[in-house]
Amino acid sequence: MKLTHEKNGTDLTIHLSGEMNTLTAPELSALLDKELDGMQTLTLDFKECDYVSSAGLRVLLATYKQMKAAKGSMELINVGPDFKDVLMNTGLDAVFGIF
């Protein structure tokens, strides 16, 4: 999985590309550990992301909790139909802001 990110004040945007599975989800986790501190808005762009496994969902949920505790916000953009199905099946569509 390839991750690129950009910061604009307290806004952080991360672009994901490839598959986020058991092997690659820790990469996102490590990036967030490094960059999330002090951020108020997190945007995750899934335009180039083909697949998200349960390990990926775990990272997303943990990040959501972290943002909520910091009174910040998190949104997922360019979510494809397959990933949207996964989010709906797990009930996460009602938790995350999805665009």
């Binding site: 949920l61 709906m88 099946n89 797990t90 009930g91 996460l92 009602a94 938790v95």
Partner: protein, 490 residues
């Protein structure tokens, strides 16, 4: 569907069945009081007295409704707060219950005194029935005054773990009411029956107060009010307590309709239907028995305990529904005799009415919520399979304080439900294509005449053919629930 398993009794199930006896007795009190009053009125005084009791029943049920709004919600919230070790908040909940039950009793008493007579005339009763209803209402006004407070104390003492005092109080109240009604009705007529009811509500409260002297008591007398806590109490109780509101409306409508359409001599038939409904309420102790167990598990966030206690309550509800229906169907010809119904055409209507009302007690339904699982399939006899997509919530353990919505679907014999994990629909082939819901649905529809076990095998075979030996990374798990006919083995 497997209704009974031979699993070893767990601590939870022992507690449930121990509480079920007390809970059933608690719920029986209102019904026993109503039923016994009608039966004794019929046996000792005559059918006009039974119709008189039925005329007053909506007022009594209305008091039971307001009483249960508080008495069902307060113990649930109280035990939930105790489960969270929040004693101060638990005390406030109890204090609110005490205050609201007193206010409700006084308001209902005043309204009954002011408008009771006007209400009795609304069913166009004969002079004889009106006099009986007036006589019965005389003491019932005082019973209505005390019902909300007695219900609250009975329910909180019970959920505070004192099944002994609670059972004694309910037992004495039921038996005392019956025996004193029989004795007093010979001297005071219908007024004696009303007096016995009131007396034994008071006696019940006095017995229940013993609990407050015991070491195990955690309830602390106080008065408290907060609109938020009241809202929360109502939220927990409104569904269960609404059965009394429904009962009040049903009886009032029956009285008015039968009185106006067929004349006062037919009002006794409203009593027969009412009696049948009261009999069904007799066994409604499952909610009472489950609520404290559910609340403690909710407070502790013990989801596995919650699941198993919920499953047990459902099994018992189905078994009780079947038993009550059978009893009502069998005893139907004896009820008109007990109520002193002598006219042959009324006798036939009464028996038919009880048997029709009995059908309402039998149901098989599925109470469900969905915590992040793939939508289950429902297969009804003669219809294509469809998914159950309502109330889909977050997967368990995802976030703290997640609330799940519950829904209910009615199931008939022959209906089937397929539950499956995402490993089934996401099984993939060599090219990465997914098995998918369309294939699963087709397999399900093509296996209508197979047994549940054969359905599972057929789907599994199809998944294996599709995957063609490609290793799968997720578990493939399925369950089929089949509703069988009663004569089939379960």
């Amino acid at each position: 569907m497997q209704l009974f398993t031979k699993n070893k009794q767990t601590m939870m199930s022992k507690k449930f069945f121990s509480m079920l006896a007390g809970g059933t007795l608690t719920m029986m009190v209102v019904s026993v009081m109503l039923m016994s009053d009608s039966i004794i009125a019929g046996s000792v005084i005559g059918s006009d007295a039974v119709a008189g009791v039925t005329l007053v029943t909506p007022l009594y049920s209305l008091a039971a409704f307001f009483g249960s709004v508080i008495s069902l919600g307060v113990p649930i919230l109280y035990t939930t707060e105790m489960g969270k070790f929040n004693k101060e908040r638990a005390d406030q909940v109890f204090g609110l219950g005490v205050l609201m039950s007193i206010i409700m009793g006084v308001v209902l008493f005043v309204l009954t005194c002011l408008f009771g007579e006007m209400y009795l005339h609304s069913s166009s009763p004969s002079e004889a029935i009106l006099n009986e209803a007036r006589g019965y209402l005389f003491w019932m006004r005082f019973t209505i005054l005390i019902i909300p407070f007695q219900s609250l104390i009975a329910a909180t003492v019970y959920s505070n773990g004192d099944e002994t005092v609670s059972t004694i109080a309910n037992g004495v109240q039921g038996l005392g009411n019956i025996s004193f009604s029989i004795i007093l009705s010979h001297f005071l007529g219908i007024r004696g029956i009303g007096l016995a009811s009131f007396t034994f509500y008071v006696v019940s409260v006095l017995i229940l107060l013993i609990h407050f002297r015991r070491k195990s008591n955690t309830l602390r007398w106080n008065l408290y009010f907060s609109p938020d806590v009241l809202g929360e109490v109502i939220r927990y109780s409104i569904i269960d307590s609404s059965c009394y509101l429904f009962f009040a409306i049903l009886t009032a409508v029956l009285n008015t309709f039968i009185g106006a359409r067929y004349g006062p001599e037919y009002l006794i038939l409203a009593s027969v239907i009412t009696l049948s409904r009261e009999f069904q309420l007799l066994f409604d102790g499952i909610g009472q028995a489950s609520a404290p167990i559910f609340s403690v598990y909710l407070g502790e966030e013990n989801r596995s305990g919650l699941r198993s206690s919920y499953a047990l309550a459902n099994r018992v509800a189905i078994a009780e529904g079947v038993i009550v229906t059978l009893i009502l169907v069998i005893i139907a010809p004896f009820v008109p005799q007990v109520l002193n119904i002598t006219r042959p055409e009324l006798f036939g209507h009464a028996v038919a009415g009880i048997r029709m009302a009995a059908l309402g007690a039998t149901f098989i339904s599925l109470l469900y919520t969905n915590a992040g699982h793939n939508y289950p399939y429902l297969q009804r006899k003669g219809q294509p399979s469809c998914i159950i997509e309502k109330n889909h919530g977050l997967f368990l353990g995802g976030l703290e304080f997640t609330q799940y919505k519950q829904d209910e679907i009615h199931l008939d014999p022959g209906d089937r439900i397929l539950l499956y994990t995402d490993g089934v629909v996401e099984a993939h082939d060599k090219s990465g294509g997914l098995y998918g819901n369309d294939r699963l649905e087709k397999m399900l529809d093509s296996s209508r005449n197979l047994t549940g076990e054969q359905v599972l095998q057929q789907i599994l075979n199809d998944v294996n053919v599709f995957a063609a030996g490609v290793p799968q990374f997720d578990d493939i798990t399925m369950i089929v629930l089949s509703i069988k006919n009663q004569e089939e083995n379960t």
